[in-house]
Amino acid sequence: MSGKEYRTITDVKGPLVFLEKTEPVAFGEIVQLRLTDGTMKNGQVLDTSDDMVVVQVFEGTAGVDLGSSVKFMGDVFKLPVSKDLIGRILDGAGRPRDGGPAIVAEGEADIIGAAINPYSRQSPHDFIQTGISAIDCCTTLVRGQKLPIFSASGLPHNDIALQIARQAKLKGSDEEFIVVFCAMGITAEEYNFFRSDLERTGALENAVLFVNLADDPAVERLITPRLALTAAEYLAFEQDYHVLVVYTDVTNYCDALRQIGAAREEVPGRRGYPGYMYTDLAMLYERAGLVKGKKGSITQFPILTMPGDDITHPIPDLSGYITEGQIVISRELHGSGIYPPINVLPSLSRLMGGCIGEKTTREDHKSVSDQMYAAYAQGRELRGLVAIVGEDALNERDKQLLDFSGLFEDKFLRQSRDENRSIDETLDLCWDLMQNISTKYLVRLDQKWIDKYHPTEKK
């Protein structure tokens, strides 16, 4: 491709630059802008025709004038990939941020990423022990799953994500995960928190960080997760690593998407977000899983903050339709001082059924998990009734369930930030707590498990 520079900008609008009279430019092509003061900026072609080319500028269009020159680089956005990525910190556009040398590429990968052929996928079924009881017992994480944290402002989702990144391992295996961490528009403070924690635990050596902070260009956020996932795919499917991708905050990503949509005067969908947001998010979330014939895997842990704690907001809503479940953080539990404040009732792991049981976790897992869930759900419901009619009006069963719901939160949910419970410890804890309910009310438990595991009634 020739290195022609064009000075044919006609319009600049928000993050977009419009120019005319170019040679044929490829859709998705990478662009370099040189401003009149010599500053360089990068961009990507969003719309191309014989007459007009639309470029989105990653660093924002501040300082761009009609005299700025534009150079088309002849290729779509690619990430240089190599095993050397491990241990590095890169910025939101993939340039070193840690003062280290440029990545020596073993290859280049298109960051858009092709879809995995569903026929080539392998069903995820390996249990990941996170050491957090609420997750391991009730919304079990599976290797190759995409399980987001639905949180909201002011809640400790970062602590939970870090704890998972630190503790996650396959049961009975020392195999470590490579953590690919992708920051999208988070504050420097949050980033430092993540970074220092990874440093403190030595996890940084086994991590790749892509960082776009709140004061970095918003448009750049649209490529940051794609870079991270491209790196993850390379490490998983070319280098056989098991990769855990943590990215935060999807809400900032979606807002950047909306910004571009608005600048292009697109017809907006719900709440001003573009109509293609579902497809766009799917192109991130679906880059998880296992494929036949490859040893590695990608497990995704996206974090999103629900605006106004509203789970029906388009961002959590569309995410929930794509991801394989969700872990919902509750402000109420957080308010009552419980960490991790995971509300198991709206939380869900769609892949759990296939990965728990005798061969992977423990034979009584399903039964115990169902019973814990049901008893807690009923106990919580009774709290509403008690507020009206008083505790005395409850019958024996309801009283036990009500008390149990308190214990559930205090003993089962609550654990410290560095407490790593094995699945056996978690399940034993469940049995311990279920002693507080008469066995005749524990209808979801199979008798054979009561005989085997119940602390006082076992035979």
């Binding site: 899983g289 036949k292 929930g320």
Partner: protein
């Protein structure tokens, strides 16, 4: 530059504009040096607007656009069953072979295996007059399904030659006197419904084995149903149960814009599942279409049409076909995305103004028909809808509800209580009972419709009573109303809840459904008598035989034991009354 072909003028995501091409609407064209597949969706002076079924990154203005002269079509013939396709009928196993794990672009693949040889058995003879759609021979396509080779709907005449033997799908098996050569494979444009003689009113239920569906909200063979529900409410599980257990002869399952792992699960599971109606692997009757959420959006738009055309083709052989589309919302969103790229004036929530007519056209391709051959065939369509935030006042849900006659409303609240299937019995409806009641009376029990009415009115009454209970607690209700609550609870826990993953419970035959419903009403009657005789509510409802009756349904052969268990329950209830 030839008159026929042109060059790219503009590229905007999946929408490409070409100039210098004289194309027809909905014609398939090849775009760019890589020959990406696209379809003309708008003509504008000398510009043709094309939706491209593959990723367009890296394509430049000035690259060629080549006409094919064809509209988007599917290949129909032996080899469809057990196959899994993408949205434009490319077999996924073939794509894996040619391009590996990731779906690259610019690869063509035939929908049918053109090499595979089938045993064709002629059913007409030389000299026979054959009309359009006439069956001229058969092929044993899978263990359970006989594929009927039909004359394409636009041909007729006198058979000049025909012979049985081994052929692949492109070899001529029959010639007509006018010289037309007939192969086993025919092509049909996906956006055009296949012809039939006439549509009938449906009069047979599609039996699904799911109690709440068959008993309370039955769907007719040839009918259309919508399943709206928020995420996590069990749409996909319900659709998959229907694909597994419904008594259709052919199942077409479209995974439209859904999760990749879910399709993999179906692929892993179906070959090992046994069809309860034939005792053979389910895969034998199944065609799957998978366009996951990250696959190109235009192909998602096409996937629904690809699926229904295949369904109609099997219908034309005289089969009862069930088509599951999961989820039609993703299809509608694909339309919205394309429409917005075309800068069309939007209707509600950014959806194109033609959304509801497209939905109607699609569901209207369902129906029970007299085929061209004079046989009885049907296509039943069951579409999942994923309303944003679970709010069904949105355009796709509303557009769907205006057309379908069965509404199975999934409820996040029920799902959260782990009540599955989480179908809300108060908001769901079916408009088929009137036309199906005769069938139920003739085939199951003469009082079947009456029992259904009683069960659903009990549930209504419960809903009203629950409002009071919320305020004052159940103890404050009179005893007869407390009994009603108990009976309704039995309906919910014993009858409506069903474990789709349990070997026995996942499928319940109609006779057993009827007996279970009847058992609940019997319990109500005998409990009422016992109460009148002075029994205490607590004693009456807690008789062990009732627990047995309810629990035993998880064991095989339950249908034969129900009556005995009910008798036992009645005796114990009567005894409980006497004790006082």
């Amino acid at each position: 530059m030839s008159d026929e072909n042109g060059v790219i003028y503009r590229i905007s995501g999946p929408v490409v504009t070409a100039t210098g091409i004289r194309s027809r609407m909905y014609e398939v064209v090849r775009v760019g040096h890589e020959g990406l597949m696209g379809e003309v969706i708008e003509l504008h002076g000398d510009k043709s607007v094309i939706q491209v079924y593959e990723d367009t990154s890296g394509i430049r203005p000035g690259e060629p656009v080549v006409r094919t002269g064809q509209t988007l079509s599917v290949q129909l013939g032996p080899g469809l069953l057990t196959q899994i396709y993408d949205g434009i009928q490319r077999p996924l196993p073939v794509l894996e072979k040619t391009m590996g794990t990731f779906i690259e672009r610019g690869v063509d693949a035939d929908g049918l295996d053109l090499e595979k040889v089938w045993d064709f058995e002629a059913t007409v003879s030389v000299g026979d007059e054959v009309a359009p759609g006439a069956v001229i021979g058969t092929v044993q396509e899978t263990e359970t399904i006989v594929h009927k080779v039909m004359l394409p709907p636009n041909h007729s005449g006198k058979v000049a030659s025909i012979e049985s033997g081994s052929f692949n799908v492109t070899q001529t098996v029959c010639t007509l006197e006018d010289g037309t050569e007939i192969q086993m494979m025919q092509k049909w444009p996906v956006r055009t419904p296949r012809p039939y003689h006439q549509k009938y009113a449906p009069d047979t239920p599609l039996i699904t084995g799911m109690r709440i569906l068959d008993f309370l909200f039955p769907l007719a063979k040839g009918g259309a149903a919508g399943i709206p529900g928020p995420f996590g409410s069990g749409k996909t599980v319900t659709q998959q149960s229907l694909a597994k257990y419904s008594d259709a002869q052919i199942v077409v399952y479209i995974g439209c814009g859904e999760r990749g792992n879910e399709m993999t699960e179906v692929l892993d599971e179906f070959p090992h599942l046994i069809d309860p109606n034939t005792g053979k692997p389910l895969m034998n009757r199944t065609v799957m279409i998978a366009n996951t959420s990250n696959m190109p959006v235009a192909a998602r738009e096409a996937s629904v049409y690809t699926g229904i055309t295949i369904a109609e083709y099997f219908r034309d052989m005289g089969y009862d076909v069930a088509l599951m589309a999961d989820s039609t919302s993703r299809w509608a969103e694909a339309m919205r995305e394309i429409s917005s790229r075309l800068e069309e004036m939007p209707g509600e929530e950014g959806y194109p103004a033609y959304l509801s007519s497209r939905l109607a056209e699609f569901y209207e391709r369902a129906g029970r028909v007299e085929t061209l051959e004079g046989e009885d065939g049907s296509v039943t369509v069951i579409g999942a809808v994923s309303p944003p935030g679970g709010d069904i006042s949105e355009p796709v849900s509303q557009g769907t509800l205006r057309i379908v006659k069965v509404f199975w409303g999934l409820d996040a609240g029920l799902a959260r209580q782990r009540h599955f299937p989480a179908i809300n019995w108060l908001s769901s409806y079916s408009l088929y009972p009137q036309s199906l009641d005769q069938w139920f009376r003739d085939n199951i029990a003469t009082d079947f419709p009456e029992i259904r009415t009683e069960i659903s009115s009990l549930l209504q009454v419960e809903a009203e009573l629950q409002e009071i209970v919320q305020l004052v607690g159940s103890d404050a209700l009179p005893v007869d109303q407390q009994l009603t609550l108990e009976v309704a609870r039995m309906i919910r826990e014993f009858f409506l809840q069903q474990n789709g993953f349990h070997d026995v419970d996942a499928y319940t035959g109609l006779e057993q459904q009827y007996k279970m419903a009847k058992a609940i009403l019997t319990f109500q009657d005998s409990a009422k008598k016992a109460l009148a005789a002075g029994g205490l509510l607590e004693d009456v409802v807690n008789v062990p035989a009732r627990t047995n009756l309810m629990r035993d349904r998880f064991e095989p052969g339950y249908v034969d034991r129900v009556d005995g268990l009910v008798d036992e329950m009645n005796q114990q209830i009567a005894a409980a009354a006497e004790e006082n």
